[in-house]
């Protein structure tokens, strides 16, 4: 994880215990991470990291580790 602060962000956006947030936690495997929560998550990531994610990123963001990777891609470009 390049951005460990993501774990806390996930816990708060999905309203789950931070202990449940691991890099391999995947979209759709827990009821709390559904499409509605996904949009909340995206908005919070954009806000916190000051990035603009496109529609490909939203679809690719299938796990916590993947989110970390996507954020990295944007931060390196900056």
């Amino acid at each position: 994880m390049n951005h460990p602060q993501l774990l806390e962000l996930f816990a708060s956006a999905l309203a789950i215990d931070i202990k449940k947030v691991t890099p391999d936690l995947a979209y759709g495997t827990i009821p709390e991470w559904d499409s509605t929560a996904h949009m909340i998550l995206i908005a919070e990531i954009e806000d916190k990291f000051d990035v603009m994610l496109d529609t490909d990123d939203i679809i690719d963001m299938s796990s916590v580790a993947k989110a970390d990777e996507i954020i990295n891609k944007y931060l390196i470009q900056q």
């Binding site: 979209y27 759709g28 559904d34 499409s35 509605t36 529609t55 939203i58 679809i59 299938s62």
Partner: protein, 357 residues
Amino acid sequence: MLFELEPYSIKKEQKQPLLQQELSALTKHHQQHCSDYARLIQTQWPNLSLPVANTQALPYLSVRLFKQIGLKSITDEQVFKTLYSSGTTGTPSRIMLDNQTAAVQSKILVKIMQQWLGKARLPMLIIDHPSVVKDRANFSARGAGIQGLAFMGRNHCYALNDDMSINWPSLEAFCTKFADGPILVFGFTFMVWQHFIQQLISHKKTINLPQATLIHSGGWKKLIDQAVDNQTFKQTAKQTCGISKVHNFYGMVEQVGAIFVECEQGYLHCPSYADIIIRQPNNWQVADFNQPGVVQLLSTLPKSYPGHSLLTEDRGIIIGEDDCRCGKKGKYFKILGRLPQAEARGCSDTFETGQAS
């Protein structure tokens, strides 16, 4: 796999063999995982041999069956989301999704919409009220559409209050902030017409969203009763909202994801992942292009329920394949309206009389 390909780039020579293969595999999958489906196929298509030689030979279910019985190919524990049809004709359909099918549906919907909207997420005005997506485990057709399209947007704003009145402060704030740039406006056809455009007119108000794209879906039946056709709809959207890019799309809650979007020429287009067949209502034989009949829809997406080949209750006509002037490949068609009630019932009767071929 078809869902790895671009939505409008492949021609029939490449598409049809892949469709046959994937839909035959899905038929087999559902026979093995849904006993009601296996029984229906055994009764109606006793001589079925898989893989089929062409997609026309695939078994098809009447869409009514999803209202009558809850068909699914997953266990109760695997049900991640349940979708309900709008249920204008009594009992709603129930479509059960596991996380895999739900994820594929979202992904394909985004892939198709990227072709019409681009990849950037646009400020999004939703012509509905926020309560329509409140229950997160059970979605109406409207909720599912909004939820799916929401992935294409940012700064989502609901234009209506719970009582269907326009939320003027929200609408005005949205327009002040975003009206000058590209915007996505989405709503169900009837909601856009009745509860937005008509309300603007009755309040003698207009808004101006010159760079907006309006995407709408959900059937014309109620509007045809008011003598509103596609052209009137577009003209009025231009007059009241300043929107000149308007795309209707056709699709069923029973086949979320692989939707059929209307091009600039006014035709609905099959994406790579879906196809249309027209059948004659009297004998269920396949109709030729330019011959109206009952719409059968094929989709390679439904894995958690046997909805990959469905006979709808809509009438339609295929105009052509791979040669639309808009440049997109795939079959393109028009929807002509709903079947009369008696004929619609006839569709499900095929399962009692065994007329299917």
